[in-house]
């Protein structure tokens, strides 16, 4: 194929330009199509009775009264649903030793977290279904709950799954070099800290939900899905409901935020599909906000004890860490709940040229909501541990944290290489990024301001992070372990009779601008104005097969497939044009919707003329010309398990030592996500990600009682960042294109969430340091800040 220069230097390329999203018009006029907007003929509504206990044996459930309640069509217990599906188990073969128990959509004999569905009621309205739920009498024997991961492995702990003999789900040890010897060497300062990362969750503004419809005449199940991976969901429904894959159609229209929350298997959604099949009519289930907090996957929940060793000259000699993470009573299906711990082990210290590294991870069961992959899986933990220790070590040896980073970050000309944990790295720019960061934030001036402010009793802190982000995963992420999750994506480009370009892709849109970047790539590479491109995503019946949008893979993998498809269609169209114009394809180009002379740019014919000739007047073509005005290409990452990006970020905070409040004054992010397709969309991904990261660092926590009762299940009690307390965020870029594709794009969606918590942690501790206090627990709430100060 033609080389990259030809593609990116084309006169009508849109790659690299801040094109506004075409989808915005619809959403701004209230014409979005979210799942709850659907109202199908004969549609009925589901509500669930959920376990009030974290751990309870189900003795009996009396649904007699509910069955007779107004509007009720059906009441299903766990056993009723279990008879219609096969159970699922959240393990993968490449996560050696990972175990989990079979899980059904509704609890059958034992409920294992507060909020686990017990009974499903289907009625003519949601209100009637909820009324009937109130009439159900569940006789439950409360069992002792395992909530604290730090005691879950003790021999006297109750067991969540008796058959396993312990509450351990998985463990892994990574060892490189010899940490003990390195730490024992003369002149090495060793700093140890214990980090606690609370549970938080995604809080998508559109809650989880689905409409499932079943047509018995064609044995067709259609799921309208608020999620990220339609083809994955198609396989799961097919497998567990016993339907041929081709009879399951999954449609994802507008999705009101996902962030990894809506990519898992939720019992209430599977039950909606089961009910639709049993009732032979559409069933809608929309989680209310309390159900969202109780049953959307939670994230993080790690306790990490870690040490760093550094010489007096500032050479980091190694990191030694132990991560203990609680994942709820099951490993989530199908992606598993061991991936986050695995990523923590893979990523800690990955920006730095470490010789010695030891990391142990243990994943334990507990009676809380399941923990699984949420935006920036593992990254906030890995970055906060490594860079938190690094800045603490800097304080211990009296070295500035920027100088300490520059001394230890991998050199920009040292790739390809591996991290101490064995990750293959290429095309990174840590040194450039930290240099650019300190320039745009005016680091030296901030330090001067900080010293001045301290004299006035004002405690400001500056915290940094150097980070990597896992993007564009290859089949080594899930597929290799047996997960029904495509690592490749497909794209189709089709010229219609009017000269417009229709494209379809297996990546999906949840607001990132997926559809916009597909249009940008296709328009420029093929050669039409962007307003002549129409994009289809999110329908298993109408798009090529592929993975969807997650793990910051949409632009890098789906974008490359789109580029290849558009380029292939261009070649096909020029072949036809050459025949029609009696010249060679090489002498022609497509620009702004016209076939032009490649040398002069003079118009030879419009694409509409060409297409109408092919479609309507094939008689004008030689009989041996068989034009194809549609092209499909697929792409996957080879040679690398992941395509890493890097970045550097900084937070400037002020800590009120009287109240414990942390005010974020400003935030800076330098991101290298390879080739930037749309700088506006990338900047907004970074900003939105940073704010979610700030949320995890300062505000957000799913608070459980010792008995496993979730205490904050309203938006008033679970605090997310609001506009008033968020800073403006300065974003800058370095572009080191990935060599794994022509497009050269890496992902950008998770960097902010992965890096911001470390920068905030470091900034707060920088502010507290003159007071002899420090805090290693997230979120860093006012109460925790005050406690740290009183202990300091």
């Amino acid at each position: 194929m033609t080389g990259p220069a030809t593609i990116f230097d084309r006169p009508n390329t849109y790659i690299g330009k801040p094109e506004p999203r075409a989808d915005a018009a619809r959403l701004l006029q209230g014409r979005g199509r979210y799942v709850d907007d659907l109202n199908l003929p004969r549609m009925v509504h589901a509500a669930f009775v959920r376990s009030p206990h974290a751990h309870a044996r189900i003795r009996a459930i009396d649904v007699t009264e509910a069955r007779a309640a107004p509007g009720v069509l059906a009441v299903y217990t766990g056993a009723d649903i279990a008879a219609e599906v096969t159970p699922y188990v959240g393990t993968l073969t490449h996560m050696a030793g990972l175990r989990s128990a079979p899980q059904y959509p509704l609890a059958v004999d034992v409920a294992r977290w507060q909020g686990e569905p017990l009974v499903m009621v289907v009625a003519r309205s949601r209100a009637q279904a909820e009324d009937a739920c109130d009439l159900i009498d569940a006789d439950l024997e409360e069992l002792e709950a395992v909530c604290d991961q730090e005691t879950a492995l003790s021999p006297d702990s109750p067991l969540i799954h008796e058959e396993f003999g312990s509450n351990l789900a998985w463990e892994r040890l990574v060892e490189a070099g010899d940490v003990d010897t390195a730490f024992a060497a003369p002149g090495v300062t060793v700093v140890e800290r214990t980090f606690r990362f609370g549970r938080h969750t995604g809080v998508t503004l559109e809650s989880r939900g689905t409409v499932c419809d079943y047509d018995p005449s064609e044995n067709q199940l259609t799921m309208y899905y608020s999620g990220q991976a339609p083809h994955m969901m198609q396989v799961i429904l097919s497998k567990h409901l016993g339907l041929p894959e081709e009879d399951v159609r999954v449609i994802s229209n507008d999705v009101g935020g996902s962030f990894g929350i809506k990519i898992h298997t939720y019992g209430d959604e599977i039950a909606a599909a089961v009910a639709a099949r049993m009732l032979r009519r559409p069933v809608k289930f929309i989680a209310d906000r309390m159900e969202s907090f109780m049953t959307d996957i939670h994230a993080r929940d790690h306790v990490v004890t870690a040490r760093i060793g550094v010489t007096a000259e500032g050479n980091i000699v190694g990191i030694d860490m132990d991560d203990l993470t609680g994942i709820g009573p099951f490993s989530m299906y199908p992606r598993t709940s061991a991936i986050e711990c695995n990523q923590v082990l893979n990523l800690t210290g990955a920006p730095y040229a470490l010789q010695n590294y030891r990391a142990r991870g243990r994943v334990v069961f507990q009676n809380k909501m399941l923990m699984c992959q949420y935006r920036a899986v593992g990254h906030p933990i890995a970055m906060a541990v490594a860079d938190g220790l690094l800045e603490e070590a800097g304080r211990a040896i009296g070295m500035d944290p920027v100088a300490l980073r520059k001394k230890n970050l991998m050199a920009d000309d040292s790739y390809p290489r591996q991290s101490a944990s064995g990750m293959k790295l290429d095309d990174l720019s840590h040194q450039k990024a930290i240099t650019k960061l300190t320039e745009i934030m005016d680091y030296d001036a901030l330090r001067t301001d900080q010293a001045e402010a301290r004299k006035r009793g004002v405690y400001r802190g500056i915290g940094l992070v150097s980070m990597v982000e896992v993007t564009n995963p290859s089949p080594m992420f899930y597929g290799i372990g047996g997960a029904p999750i495509a690592s490749q994506d497909g794209a189709t480009a089709r010229l219609d009779a009017g000269g417009a370009l229709h494209v379809a892709s297996s990546i999906t849109e949840q607001g990132q601008g997926t559809n916009a970047i597909l249009a940008q790539i296709a328009a420029g590479v093929f050669g039409v104005p962007i307003d002549r491109v129409r994009v289809t995503t999110g329908d298993t019946r109408n798009v090529p097969y592929g993975g969807g949008t997650w793990a910051s893979r949409g632009a890098g993998i789906g974008g490359e497939a789109m580029l290849q498809a558009a380029h292939a269609l261009r070649d096909q169209v020029l072949e036809v044009a050459g025949t029609l114009l009696q010249t060679t394809p090489e002498a022609l180009d497509i620009r702004d919707g016209n076939v032009v002379d490649a040398g002069t740019g003079a118009e030879r014919m419009t694409l509409a003329d060409l297409a109408r000739t092919v479609y309507y007047r094939g008689n004008e073509l030689p009989s041996d010309t068989k034009p194809e005005l549609i092209a499909t290409r697929h792409y996957r990452v080879t040679d690398f398990p992941f395509v890493f990006t890097n970045g550097a970020m900084a937070a400037h905070v002020e800590v009120d030592i009287e109240t414990g409040f942390v005010k974020v004054l400003h935030f800076w992010a330098v991101e290298d996500c390879g080739r930037v397709i749309n700088p506006m969309l990338v900047d907004e991904q970074v900003r939105g990600g940073v704010v979610q990261g700030i949320g995890g660092a300062l505000y957000e926590e799913c608070l459980y009682s010792p008995e496993g009762q979730l205490l904050n299940t309203t938006m008033a009690d679970y605090i997310v960042p609001m506009a008033a307390e968020m800073p403006d965020i300065t974003v800058a870029h370095i572009e080191t294109p990935s060599k794994t594709s022509v497009l050269g794009a890496k992902g950008a969606g998770e960097a902010g969430t992965g890096g911001a918590p470390a920068a905030i942690l470091n900034a707060v501790n920088d502010a507290l340091s003159p007071l002899g206090a420090s805090l290693w627990q997230m979120p860093m709430t006012p109460q925790r800040v005050l406690t740290a100060l009183s202990e300091g």
Binding site: P20, R21, D23, A24, A25, R26, L27, L28, Q29, G30, R31, G32, Y34, D36, D37, N39, P70, A127, D131, G202, V203, T204, L205, E206, S207, D254, V255, G256, G257, S258, F259, D288, R289, Q510, G511, Q512, G513, M680, L681, E684, R687, G688, G689, V690, V691, Q692, T714, M715, A716, V720, P721, M722, A723, A724, M726, D728, I729, G752
Partner: protein
């Protein structure tokens, strides 16, 4: 059990008469009975702001207002703001600044922003941030929303 009541109200300029259960809130009535699905439900307890719409000239939470409370009133939803052109400048600015991603908070955000702009709110960034702090956005991080609102105020001032 629930009682029903007949209500008559003007929605986006159209008179609507319907029988509703008295427990039905205004946003559910608009979404499920009238078919105006532009107003969204995020929390159902008045915190997230996704259901913010205009009732009798004031921005209200559609989830904290019962449909029967709108009897005899005038309601404008995000669809009405677009059809009448009142949200033209804001929509253009939101598009230009990419002040929306998933779009779920957007109808409420527009209603809040419009009430601020139309009553002469200043383009001071912190004042804008304070005003929209009743509207959760989980995607943008808010900066682009502030930019867009600020743009509209400045354009309106002839700046």
């Amino acid at each position: 059990m629930t009682r029903d009541a007949r209500i008559t109200l003007t929605v986006n300029g159209e008179e609507i008469s319907a029988v509703v259960a008295v427990r039905t809130n205004l946003v559910d009535f608009l979404r499920h009975d009238v078919g105006l699905t532009g107003s969204h439900v995020g929390c159902e307890h008045g915190v997230c702001g996704a259901c913010t719409l205009e009732l009798n000239g004031k921005a209200v939470r559609g989830c904290l207002t019962l449909a029967v409370q709108a009897d005899g009133g005038t309601v404008t939803t995000v669809e009405g703001l677009a059809d009448s052109g009142r949200s033209d400048a804001l929509r253009a600015a939101f598009t230009r600044r990419n002040a929306l991603q998933c779009g779920f908070c957007t109808p409420g955000m527009l209603a809040s922003a419009l009430s601020y702009i139309e009553r002469g709110g200043s383009d001071d960034r912190q004042a804008i941030r304070d005003h929209i702090s009743g509207n959760y956005c989980r995607c943008t991080g808010y900066q682009s929303v502030v930019d867009a609102i600020s743009d509209v105020i400045r354009e309106g001032d002839g700046a």
